[in-house]
Amino acid sequence: MVKLKVNGIDRSFDGDSNMPLLWYVRDILGLTGTKFGCGMALCGACTVHKNGEAIRSCVTSMSAAAGSEIRTIEDLGANGLHPVQEAWLEMNVPQCGYCQSGQIMQAVSLLKSKPHPADQEIDDAMAGNICRCGTYQRIRKAIKLAAGKIA
């Protein structure tokens, strides 16, 4: 039996503890904002927070998530948009949007550890989040805008 907290709610799971957190969140809890891209931690579409830090939920097993606090995109803006989401809207970041839940969760995590990241730091932190529409320039601008909002 795996116990964990997802978006502030206590949960327990008695299925296969090797199941990646991604499928628990999407299929069992029905939180479909977190996306499946590659299943191999190569694209970042599945990024969620574990105890406040960005992780790839597609390769994080339920046993590895046990006892932690998980936060998904659904909770980020639950009580009004997060400044990163506001910045995303202002900069009109998404095109198709499929990767953006992951991009946003990664950016929130970055700004927590580095409130005013330089360009290179943004590029390094976001390098694992792939966007096929190529919204990288707008993502970088939005992260800077969000940094100003949070400060």
Binding site: G15, D16, M19, P20, W23, R26, D27, I28, G30, L31, T32, G33, T34, K35, F36, G39, T72, I73, E74, L76, G77, L81, Q85, W88, L89, N92, V93, P94, Q95, C96, G97, Y98, Q100, S101, I104, C133
Partner: protein, 329 residues
């Protein structure tokens, strides 16, 4: 289908170096001539969409309610190009509608909308004129309705944002107020429509954003794989390793032992030409995606690789190279 005209290599090189430009002559020949969907009266409603149910509904793509809400139908599939925004935006522009008062209905598959096949970067090109005409038809009816009420010539009336105005007397009526009266009028013919000048455009070419922007930033946008229905199960398919291959034998006993796996289904291979037919293989059906993945790994399949068994890309490359150096016709 596009046909590439053969430009002789010599002429081609001459073109490249002579004009400093790359010349590739492609003549585009559509295989199916597109027939625009009917937007004339009588073809307009079956009550499926908000547009159908609205008070004024001159065509299948737009409806105007008495409170002024403009309902526009997006009849192409959204696959990330923001087509759900761009085509309704063209209609709204021609209608002089306030974009903030527009709601968008995603159409289901329906012959009323013509061919809804969304591919090949064709949607704006093929429906740009139709959307403008549909918006212009509604606008024309609203103008006529106002002109009749005010007893002035329609030609002296014009539209501003979401309203018809008669400048000489300063009269104004919102689209919502006019909807009922306009609905009694005949839908104008395409030839009678007066389209806006490009200098009058409000939205086209103005860098508008997706109507789904906020949903895309909050995880609320619904993609194909996010669809959920009651009693839904999940499947993962093991396709043949060679294009056109089929199952020779299947042992799914171990797969069925995986917790959460319900059954396997063999899918027949396509009959050539492949076109858009399924590739075939074995689907593992389970209670969740992970169980389906695990079950799929446990399948024991022997494949008949079919006619492409001996296909070798290096041979194809060699024969292509040979063709490249042979004389063209």
């Amino acid at each position: 289908m596009s046909q590439i005209e053969n430009v002789s290599r010599r002429k081609f090189l001459k073109g490249v170096f002579g004009a400093g430009a790359l010349i590739l002559t492609v003549r585009y020949i559509p295989t199916v001539r597109y027939i625009p969907p009917m937007w004339a009266q009588g073809q307009s409603t079956n009550g499926q969409t908000e547009a159908d149910r609205a008070t004024l509904h001159p065509n299948v793509f737009v409806g105007i309610q008495q409170d002024g809400t403009v309902c526009i139908v997006a009849h192409r599939s959204e696959m990330g190009t923001v087509i759900r925004t761009s085509l309704p935006l063209v209609l709204a522009d021609e209608l002089d509608a306030d974009w903030k008062r527009v709601t968008i209905d995603q159409a289901i598959g329906d012959k009323r909308y013509g061919d809804q096949n969304t591919d090949g970067s064709q949607s704006v090109r093929r429906f740009y004129d139709t959307m403008r005409e549909c918006g212009a038809a509604a606008r024309s009816m609203l103008i006529q309705a106002a002109a009749l009420q005010w007893n002035v010539p329609a030609l002296d009336c014009s539209t501003e944002l979401h309203a018809v105005v008669h400048k000489a007397t300063g009269r104004r009526a919102g689209y919502g107020e006019l909807a009922t009266a306009a609905a009694r009028l005949t839908v104008p013919k395409k030839e009678q429509l007066q389209l806006k000048k490009s200098s009058e455009w409000r939205y086209i070419g103005k860098g508008m954003t997706s109507v789904d922007l906020e949903k895309l930033c909050t995880g609320k946008a619904m993609y194909g794989m996010d669809a959920r229905v009651d009693g839904m199960v999940y499947a993962s398919i093991e396709h043949p390793p060679v294009f056109g291959g089929k199952i020779k034998s299947l042992d799914d006993q171990e797969a069925l032992k995986v917790a959460g796996v319900r059954q396997t289904v063999s899918i027949d291979p396509f009959k050539p030409p492949a076109a858009f037919q399924p590739l075939g293989g074995v689907a593992v059906i389970a209670d969740n995606t992970w169980a389906a993945f695990q079950g799929r790994k446990k399948l024991k399949i022997t494949w008949d690789n079919g006619p492409n068994e001996s296909y070798d890309s290096s041979n194809t490359r060699k024969s292509s190279r040979k063709l490249r150096t042979s004389r063209g016709s």
